[in-house]
């Protein structure tokens, strides 16, 4: 047997799980690399995410993936619903209290009500009293947010912006930017899972004390509202808010902490997972 043949037989043996003692440094290194490579397996989370995505695409949909074919647009689409709600929430809106039935929750200057969600209002044109305030003509857009560093966005916002020390597996940062309007400064950081295209956003907002009328309203329609404890204070978990694109829903977590109002939004994560993320903010 030549040296090269022996070298290959050592590799074959190690790949097969058998043991032929390496006789040269090259054989030893090849065996070491094989052992090293064998130490890597897809994590169970990744495995599950990939299988879930494959199963979600039935054979007749193979060429037409869910929502949008282009990857960057699909990632962006995750944030459409998140951003649309965030932006709409700071606008002067119709008197939602008038539309709400009876469920109203106040979190800082945010009012969460069971009035029809923005998606329901703008996409389905629900029946509204002729006397109600006209609904502004707003179309959700894909906002090109910057990805600022934590230091930079904190400097621009003039407050310390929190970041999570925990994120679910595979979630990655997509943007972090400052949103300002009269009497409001809000920093929103968005994350997404590049395999499942699920999204997560964390908003930290502060309102000017000299503009007490500046409020935000979040009508959530039939979504379920649950009082929860977050970081030692009372918060509100809202599950199943309809949003863009069609057929999508969001889960939201609100709480007030000192001068800041926090709002976390997710396209998929559970209440327990969102609270875990919230608890890790620092």
């Amino acid at each position: 047997m030549t040296d090269l043949e022996h070298f290959n037989s050592v590799i074959d043996a190690h790949l097969a799980g058998d043991s032929i003692p390496p006789q040269t440094p090259e054989e030893q290194l090849a065996a070491d690399i094989i052992m090293f490579a064998q130490g890597f397996e897809l994590s169970s989370e990744s495995d599950a995410a990939i299988i879930q995505q494959l199963k979600a695409v039935s054979p007749h949909q193979r060429v037409q993936l869910p929502f949008i074919a282009n990857r960057s647009l699909r990632v962006a689409s995750v944030s459409i619903g998140l951003m649309a709600l965030m932006v709409l929430g700071v606008l002067t809106v119709p008197p939602l209290r008038a539309l709400a039935q009876d469920l109203l929750r106040q979190i800082g200057r945010i009012t969460v009500s069971d009035a029809p969600s923005y998606y329901d209002v703008y996409s389905q044109q629900p029946t509204i009293s002729p006397n109600s305030t006209p609904i502004p003509d707003i179309t959700p857009q894909i906002y090109e947010n910057r990805l600022l560093s934590l230091d930079e966005v904190s400097r621009l916002a003039d407050f310390t912006v929190y970041a999570p020390s925990y994120l679910p597996a595979r979630y990655r940062i997509g943007s972090r930017d400052l949103w300002q309007s009269d009497g409001l400064k809000s920093v929103t950081t968005s994350y997404h899972n590049p395999i499942t295209y699920d999204g997560l956003s964390i908003s930290q907002s502060i309102y000017a004390v000299n503009e007490p009328d500046q409020t935000r309203q979040f009508p959530v329609g039939d979504a379920e509202m649950v009082d929860v404890m977050v970081r030692g204070v009372g918060g509100l978990w809202v599950e199943g808010v309809t949003t863009w694109p069609e057929g999508s829903t969001l889960n939201m977590l609100f709480w007030q902490e000192g001068d800041f109002t926090f709002m976390l939004q997710t396209s998929r994560l559970s209440q327990a997972e969102m609270i875990r993320i919230a608890e890790s903010l620092e």
């Binding site: 290959n8 290194l29 690399i33 989370e45 990939i50 995505q53 494959l54 193979r62 990805l147």
Partner: protein
């Protein structure tokens, strides 16, 4: 045959493919189960980080599923999947411009379960991947397919359009290069 090869199924790959339904893509999850480790480790050696390798692996199987009509069944399925993986790795490098600030990269939480425990493993992976990246393209590809993906010299010869002897030589010489670059890194 036992152990690693059986777990990986690469030596029996043709048999396994033969065992699949006549329409080999009818149950794509079975195909995924058969081949995902091979594809993942191949990509891992090429991209050098666990997270990127996981992402690219997912993209490979989604693309494979989307374009399943392009698999003719004339060659083992792993050849087709490796071809897709190669293109996805190239796309990965084209797409990933260094647009994250270092502070963001440090601050970004990494929730992989074994991050702390596997830190040294990650560092080694990066060094091995960098060392592979410094080899000639043929040597790098042959070593990656052989030692990471676990393919046989015969399969690699088919994939690279070379003789089995040429592949054996590429791998041996590539290992000699790696020995110089890595020293006792993996010992």
């Amino acid at each position: 045959m036992s152990g690693y090869a059986q777990q990986r199924g690469f030596q029996r790959m043709k048999t396994k493919d033969d065992d699949l339904p006549k329409d080999p893509l009818r149950d794509f999850t079975a195909i995924y189960e058969t081949h995902h480790s091979t594809i993942y480790r191949y990509i891992l050696a090429r991209v050098g980080t666990i997270e990127d390798a996981q992402d690219v692996t997912g993209q490979v199987f989604l693309k494979a599923y989307q374009h399943s009509e392009s698999y003719t069944g004339k060659a083992p399925m792993i050849y087709w999947l490796i071809g897709i993986a190669r293109r996805c790795v190239i796309d990965h490098y084209r797409r990933n411009k260094p647009n994250l600030l270092l502070s963001d990269a440090i601050e970004l939480p990494d929730s992989a379960p074994s991050l702390e425990d596997g830190l040294e493993q990650r560092n080694r992976l990066k060094r091995v991947s960098d060392a592979l990246g410094a080899l000639s393209e043929d040597r790098r590809e042959a070593i990656t397919l052989r030692l990471f993906a676990g393919l046989s010299n015969s399969e690699i010869a088919d994939l690279m359009g070379k003789t089995i002897e040429a592949i054996a030589m590429l791998i041996h010489r590539g290992i000699q290069d790696l020995k110089i670059r890595l020293g006792g890194e993996l010992s």
